[in-house]
Amino acid sequence: MSRIGVFVCHCGENISATVNCEKVAKITGELKGVEFSTDYKYMCSDPGQTLLKEAIKEHKLDGVVVAACSPRMHEPTFRKACAEAGLNPFLCEMSNIREHCSWVHPKDDLTTEKAEDLVRVMVEKVKKNKALKSIKVPVTKTALVIGGGIAGIQAALDIANCGHKVIMVEKLPSIGGHMSQLSETFPTLDCSQCILTPRMVEIAQHPNITLHTYSEVESVDGFIGNFKIKIRKKSKSLDEHLCTGCGLCTTKCPQKKIPNEFERGLGFRPAIYVPFPQAVPNKPVIDRENCTYYIKGKCKVCEIVCPTKAIRFDQEDEVIEVEAGAIVMATGFDVLKSDYFPEYGFGKYKDVIDGLQFERLASASGPTQGEIRRPSDGQVPKKIVFVACAGSRDPAKGIEYCSKICCMYTAKHAMLYKHKVHDGTPYVFYMDIRAGGKMYEEFVRRTIVEDGTHYVRGRVSTIYEKNGKLIVKGADTLMGGIPIEIEADMVVLATAGVANKGAEELAQTVHISYDSYKFFAEAHPKLKPVETNTAGIFLAGACQAPKDIPESVAAASGAAVKVAALFSNDELTRDPLVAVVNRQAAPVYSACVGCFLCQSVCPYQAIEREEIKSRSGEIIKTLARVNEGLCQGCGTCVALCRTKAIDIHGYSNQQVYTEIMALLND
């Protein structure tokens, strides 16, 4: 390679103010291998790029060095220009004589000499550059959506409506997530079931969507465009094709007193159950831990009454393997459990409940058919206290963040309570009201003004029971911090929104990172909120951080369009600056000795083991091989490989060695 072009830019006078560009062009023009060198006022401008392209063609250049601004700024521009002139873009390098030289040094010879050094470094480097082609990776145009809440449902429908296949996996017997547990939703108070159920049915009936409920993802391998996923379909002890969902078994089952997870302990269900009336699929599941047959070996009532003989007691779990090109995580969040609040008596006093339990009380299909009744004695509470920020914004409890949705659903709870108990008095202890969404503030004002909810600005210090009443001790900071004591009949804690149990293990299974609170980590909080650092895996909804329904739906549609973009062409193109393990002819095959240090160091699991077999199938050597679809080009393996068997395009040992030599030996 000996026909290099050097193009020194003035950048108006950002560079030429302190660097003698003509001199730099002249001096570097005399370097061995430089065929053509010039300087120009605006290299990145159209005429500048035309000058570059003409020079490439005219002087048949096979290497270009543009001395101008930071490569982080215009490397793509000049590489594209080179490509248009027929020169492989990866034979074009930039040396940063603006940010790293002209802008930070005074106008003197030392600055110009430094610019010459920086250009010489890149001239020497370019000689070692190789022409590279972008990497093509095939894409399986099927998406996997993990989680069947509103976020998962929205993402799945959006992707499916783009004409792509979707596989949805939901851990519980029915999709719907937390939204199906809600009574009415802020700020418009429309009934949660009415707006959710049609979407759930749409999922079940959509030709592009395959739904696996009562199932969990067991393993995820492969990479963007080529994920191989194992799904464990837990046995429902039921043949879903025969079952018509008539529900006879659920009424006849002798087990009646099993706490229903869907009702968060306020309602009960039989051993063979459908979590809630509008469940999708509307077919029962046998809870093997509590079913008499599985405990004592006798009963089988459901089998006897079943008109279509669909009960299968000996049905095994089934592990199926599917392929997907992209994964959308939509596993949602959970509400903080009880053993966090001994001071509020949560879990000690039956009438201290959490927000989701209040939703079940207020829900028409709930245990009390929508009437607000105390769990202890079923009385209608005349005085009710809502405690906001129960666990959120509380470093002592290890949860420093604000859970975002509690102010709104607490205001909604107070409003629903007043609509159902007209002579009741609701109190809300709060620190700050965060009602930033559309029509949110008006909603909160309404519950204060029209429904007469007493908002007390202060925290509750302790709640204890005394002769049948719950004594709520707090302070009213707006009244100078005077202590306040309310004898309430019932207390609702707006507990913190936390990551789902098992979120950490799932993140490790899927190879995405998560934060200290076990919420999944987005690639960039502002610019890539629905992507993760793992290519091809996206986030939708509250699994990334506590969110309300509008945000979850928006994020889900965002994730869906990312997937659609991924599937928009048959192949994925990626920058070829990836690692590669050298290969040689038999019998050596490679300098690699199979110590696999590189494999243990690679953050992207991009290094695989390749077994070199003889004709008789016997393994001769096991060598490292880089999967160029996964490798992100960090180069940590290259620095660690003792035999220098692995190298990386763009920053190869040759290139880096030559840069140092050129820089220090002028």
Partner: protein, 152 residues
Amino acid sequence: MQDFEPKIVAFVCNWCTYAGADLTGTSRIKYSANVKIIRFPCTGRIDFMILMKAFENGADGIIVSGCHPNDCHYSTGNFHARRRWIVFRNLLNFTGIDTDRIQFSWVSAAEGFKWADVVNNCTKKIKELGPYENYNKIAVSTLFNEEGTSNE
């Protein structure tokens, strides 16, 4: 040694310190011209032999800088680099190579000021230490050897 202008090479990672140096530029913060930057994708890519080559070819001082822990674009590159430097510094110190001439630092893409400080302080320190005699002696005696500069 006031008129001694040290040769200092800086090995930096592309995502944090290189961008930080860019920010130093856009903020027009002046710093000494003795330091010249070589870009790497990540500090994890910086092989210990690169530092040896720098000293052998006349560098009086070296700066190695990358992303703060947990900021690494590749999530673990800087952690691996840190372990490598802990061991390598031990070895250099034991063999009598002056580790004060190597400055390790974390500089993020937002720390334009910090990059200027790192460069200026390092230049000042190397000026006090003077040229790296030990290595130059060895380097000179081998000049006639096959080790030319940019051989074709």
